[in-house]
């Protein structure tokens, strides 16, 4: 290999190292035996995992985050899928308006969304409740469901529905037998994104989780204010594994849907 070819390859290699390094370091630190944060660790062990699994606070937050995310998945997927089906058939002016509302959380800076929700939810009495988190996270997750379902709807040949009708299927029958199975990968991808969106969400939680509904990211944040000990590395490693597995699924599903 000549220098002219090796140089760009090395450059890209360094950039990729830059991408991967922080995550690798967190994972390595989580297996540290040291009582303070240091790298490289003097020795390896599972002590920070046992701290995590032995802590009621950590486990309570984990369960809360998991079931809030699960509720968000149900709500966002149901509302988002129905809306995607409807919006595609709306007259253009209405379609543009509805899409703008639904997709805007992708554009509006999250701090603005967070304090807006905090401002109103304080009056609704939703601050510090899991319900408040579920409603807020659903609004943040819905754009992913709608875009994902929309993309798979757009990939369906309109003649398939016509074919089903010409073969005697009623419109409802055509939807359940043809359209729904064909958009299922898109719906699943949307659901996975909704889960991750809620599970990882911090900014809104900072404002509205109060003391009554402390999610996992919120507890990590609070913990970081006091100490940088490797428990967080252990929690981070667990969430990295969880999200990477889920997103890997979404990626493969998305690829299959596109094929």
């Amino acid at each position: 290999m000549t220098v002219a070819r090796a140089l760009p390859a090395m450059l890209v290699g360094l950039i990729l190292l830059f991408l991967a390094l922080p995550i690798v370091v967190v994972m390595v630190v989580s297996f540290s035996s040291a009582t303070y944060l240091t790298f490289p660790p003097p020795a390896f062990g599972l002590r920070w995992y046992s701290v995590y699994f032995g802590s009621d606070d950590w486990l309570r937050s984990t369960w809360l985050s998991l079931w809030v995310a699960a509720a968000v998945v149900v709500l966002a997927t149901l509302l988002g899928t129905l809306a995607a089906l409807g919006i595609a058939r709306l007259p253009k002016a209405l379609r543009v308006l509805a899409s703008a509302l639904i997709l805007s959380p992708l554009i509006v800076p999250v701090i603005v969304v967070a304090i807006g929700i905090y401002y109103a939810f304080a009056r609704y009495g939703l601050v510090g409740t899991p319900a408040g988190l579920i409603f807020a996270h659903t609004c943040l997750a819905v754009p992913f469901v709608v875009t994902s379902v929309n993309a798979s709807l757009a990939g369906i040949d309109p003649r398939l529905e016509q074919a089903a009708l010409s073969l005697g299927a009623t419109p409802i029958g055509a939807f359940f037998q043809i359209t729904l199975p064909l958009i299922r990968p898109g719906v699943l991808v949307g659901a996975l994104f909704a889960f991750i969106t809620s599970f990882d969400e911090l900014v809104v939680a900072l404002f509205i989780s109060g003391s009554g509904a402390v999610t996992l990211p919120r507890r990590m944040w609070d913990d970081l204010l006091y100490q940088i000990e490797p428990t967080i590395a252990a929690v981070s490693t667990l969430t990295i594994v969880l999200t990477v597995v889920l997103m890997g699924c979404a990626h493969l599903l998305g690829k299959r849907a596109a094929a």
């Binding site: 995550i23 409807g86 603005v112 401002y119 109103a120 529905e161 900014v203 940088i228």
Partner: protein
Amino acid sequence: MSEGVEIRFEGLAAGRQSGVRLPWRLSWRPVMPLLLAAPLLLFMLVFYALPVLSMLMRSVNDPSWTLSHYASLPGDTVFLKVFSNTLYTSLTVTAGALLLGYPVALSLVRAPRYAPLILFLVLLPFWTSVLVRSYAWMVLLGRHGLINEALLAAGMIDRPLRILNTPLATQIAMVHILLPYMVLPIANALRQIDPSLARAASGLGATPWATFRQITLPLSMPGVAAGVLLVFVLALGFYITPAMVGGTREITLSMLIAQQVDQLNWAYAATLSVLLLATALAIIAVFYRLPGVGHTLRASAR
């Protein structure tokens, strides 16, 4: 009403009637799609749009209708410093992401053998939460973090550098976090370039560098513009990373807004929010006029 859409999605909107000589699908047409979309639209109005709007309204109706909150901004030195710092941070982060992102995008498209590995390494941070990644940079950049330890061990410094809690830490961490948003649209644009164009160019006597500069680079510009737009707008609103690794001296607009809310200074927080939102929207509006950007953005959103 566009005919094309009606034809496509007649299915659900079908009504059943036989006696009347009305076209069979006129009856339900506008109602059914609206019924499907209505629950979500209502939900988002109640739990998102109205909350955000009523908060933003505090910038003009606190204590009564007034524009004084906006009028005082140009003379507000704290705001001016924070705003320019936010823009500066976004700019440097965007430039850094472009510098690092373009080669990665190029290798993603040009080196098919390594593409899955590269894609995984790009997506891995993309899928990890911002909180975890910011935490990772705290670990790396701290006094006893990997960077300092490595530099000390190599004898390049004799005292730990202060990186954590400086703007530099914010910039490094944000480039890392936003890099995938730069790589993916550029890779998308590069992938759409017909490979025979490069072959034609070299057949016509262009060196590889000339081919890249005169063919590949110009044709990938819509992707670059889309990536720049995404990274810049996302960087503008960043809160967690600067708050975690950037220290308290050079804060960003998001952090100032959060501080004001903590002090229940809603009118000021709302004014700053409007400004932040308006800046983001203005930049999006400008970029959307550039040819090809809207299309590339939508394509990479998939």
